[in-house]
Symmetry: C2
Subunit: 459 residues, 2 copies
């Protein structure tokens, strides 16, 4: 068998180019997404997986095998020979008049999906079938394009993609929420002759590459053994972590802004049908929200300014759940959203955070109190990603590492500062949360193919 | 600081376009890869990480700061202002006449790399510095381009990229060589309320997506808890696994051939300097070897034919280490190489293997003895990748799964055969071994950023 049959995607491309004509013969294989028949004429909603839109097949009681075709079941896989009929006046711009059709794979009666809306909870439980449901079909298409957009952005700019390791001996953030990786539960350090865990970030491992290739990025899975059963936490998720040499915090923020705009624009341009679906069915206005990002210039505000604004707002009657505003506090989502939604009314980088609430590797500012870190806040979410200039001074970094007790295991990381080091910066962006933001889906379990969360590992 | 300085890569691009002129001012930041000075004129081999080739900086005893510049250390990071001098008659097509230069990050005396050849064993031990060594600099550049070529190939053809899960409850191949993933060593099933391990393959998880999107692929890390201390085994490695619906074994082999040729051609075209380096320094003739693949039409031979040929050869005096040739045996690398190098003299798919030596999910042929599996054999390596048509018959698959005792945990996988299933196929290709093949590097530890092997987890 040569795979010379037609694809739905190609039919739509031909249509756009005015290369689809009445009477064109087609041979398609795909799935029944609906079948209704009024006794003389019948319609099959057909999809072969190559585009989001369905194609309409039309058959009549004079079509060969009419009786069988009219009983084609929802979700059956079928092959169809037929001819094109352009229908520019209809909702569907063309139909396929069926000449011959056959079932390739039938559907048993216990099939759990029906042609109706199912709850997301129900669909989560059948993760292996939900790619066939409209929302998830659209979602995984956007996920695919978004992943490619990320590579495209960096590759066009000469960045080097680095596969940082998944199994690692150190816990980059010092958060202590690593899964352990062992061959033998009774001898956990035997296989690697070391403590081994799943990575929480590729950053520390990509820095040596930035110091050889200048512009680098990782894009891979990361893990957290957190017992957080929220709609925004998963135990396994993909992260994008660029690391750039000869670049300070300002360069880093410029890169974040350019990157975010590029990938949003790429998805809007390459997934118009899917984004229209999300705009209609999941979050009204999500396309406008994305266009607002594209059309805005990202502002900068220091953490200190933000605290002053929040404190003033609280004193003037603004009710926050956490109403005790003080310099040195970790901002809550409500505070971030107030700043981006009500004060700035657009994307804003908060910069120069107190060193106590940020990671050991961030560059200490000359005030000795804050670090050259930034969080990007956007309306509707709050923080969407964060970055920093890295501490490039050997002595300052060693002091911070000694305080945290990780100097020994990360000596190589420290050494980078005395072997031709330079100013360098980077950021981290959670891929799955970005996808939630882009589509309006509100649970991280609904944007991943097979989500892993505490107590949940069905597939 | 705006990142408006020049890049070495851009200078070479300008040169090719005849847009680089004598006297053009440049401002570069990068690393010293060599510095020699004869008292009146000095030369710095300079590299900013943006291309494989170095750029030559020239200074004289009349250059401002001559004394300091002449002492710039190997591997120091520096900034340079200067002007272009075209030198078409020289080995370097242009030089940069230094006007001003400064050290950004110096190098302490314990720096372990020197401007000389180090052994690969030594460099493995300083994995965080070896991207700066020529071989590894070239290698990671090819690795980057190869990874992108893979996405490009599939994306241009409408394939959907699926992030199959890393943590999984099942062992796809039944090989029993999974690492366990636990939060608490004493309660290993507590976190997920299930046995949890690291994936050995994304195939089973991507099949449901092929049955919704037709053409799909995974490209991600996979793991083996094998105590194999060989040059070809790593505990962590990346795999490419396409899965295509409405496609039989022949379609699968056509895809493998098209894919392999595309990515080889992409690397030869986009990494000419790096491939010349490997061709000269690592494996003489590797470029010819790759061109031979591009120019060959991949043959097909059944396993049964191969056994007959091997048996005849053995009887006619060909000495194999495993000289006992019989139908049903697993072929050794020496047998595969004999077939591809001495019999076919080019790439060949061996097809239709005995079902006993292949996986449970492979399509049983009508002879009831063999399965529709293929291994692609290439000269110099033997097997480079393998694929199969999948068993789409519910009853046949259930019988195989019952035999292996995995019906219960993989019931969802079996169900795909009764919910609108179809003929589908796929293959798996180890990314790191492919990179070994392309570059001539003979140890998998030398093609990964931070290799993980038994007893080795330094970084």
């Amino acid at each position: 068998m040569e795979r010379t049959m037609d694809l739905c995607r190609e039919l739509f491309v031909k249509l756009r180019k005015n290369e689809l004509h009445d009477g064109d013969k087609v041979f398609l294989e795909g799935w029944v997404r609906g079948n209704r028949d009024n006794g003389s004429v019948g319609f099959i909603e057909f999809n072969d997986g190559t585009c989001f839109k369905n194609v309409q097949l039309v058959y009549t009681n004079e079509t060969t095998g009419y009786e069988a075709i009219s009983h084609f079941k929802y979700a059956a896989s079928i092959s169809v020979k037929g001819s094109i009929k352009l229908t520019p006046e209809n909702k569907q711009p063309f139909e396929i008049l069926v000449e011959e059709a056959a079932v390739l794979g039938d559907v048993s009666d216990d099939y759990p999906l029906q042609k109706k809306r199912h709850s997301f909870e129900f669909l989560r439980d059948i993760a292996y079938l939900r790619p066939r449901a409209n929302t998830f079909n659209a979602l995984y298409r956007v996920r695919n394009k978004l992943a490619f957009a990320i590579h495209l952005f960096f590759q066009e700019r000469g960045f080097m993609y680095v596969h940082t390791p998944i199994i690692t001996g150190n816990d980059a953030e010092g958060a202590g929420q690593c899964f352990k990786v062992v061959e033998d539960l009774k001898n956990p350090t035997e296989f690697f002759n070391a403590n081994s865990c799943l990575t929480v970030s590729g950053q520390l491992h990509v820095e040596p590459f930035a110091l050889a290739f200048r512009d680098t990025y990782t894009f891979g899975p990361t893990f957290r053994a957190e017992h957080s059963n929220t709609s925004r936490h998963a135990s396994e998720f993909w992260m994008i972590e660029p690391e750039i040499a000869f670049a300070d915090l300002e360069d880093d923020m410029n890169l974040m802004e350019e990157f975010l705009k590029f990938i949003i624009n790429y998805v809007l341009t390459n997934c118009p049908d899917e984004m229209n679906f999300f705009n209609t069915m999941i979050e009204k206005g999500v396309i406008d929200k994305m266009n607002a990002i594209l059309n805005s210039s990202f502002k900068r505000m220091t953490y200190t300014e933000a605290i002053e604004i929040l404190d003033k707002a609280a004193k003037n009657g603004k009710k926050f759940e956490y109403n005790n505003i003080f310099w040195g506090m970790d901002l809550q989502s409500e505070h971030e959203r107030y700043i981006t939604e009500e004060v700035v009314k657009g994307p804003v980088f908060l910069i120069n955070y107190p060193k106590e609430i940020k990671s050991f590797y961030m560059k200490l500012n000359s005030d000795n109190k804050t670090v050259a870190a930034c969080d990007l806040l956007v309306p509707g979410v709050g923080e969407i990603c964060g970055g920093s200039q890295r501490e490039d001074n050997y002595d300052l970094l060693k002091t911070r590492m000694d305080e945290q007790g990780n100097t020994e295991i990360l000596e190589w990381y420290l050494n980078l500062r005395k072997y031709g080091g330079c100013i360098h910066s980077g950021f981290g962006l959670g891929f799955d949360r970005l996808l939630m933001y882009l589509t309006g889906l509100s649970n991280i379990r609904d944007v991943q193919p097979y989500p892993r969360t505490p107590g949940s590992l069905k597939y």
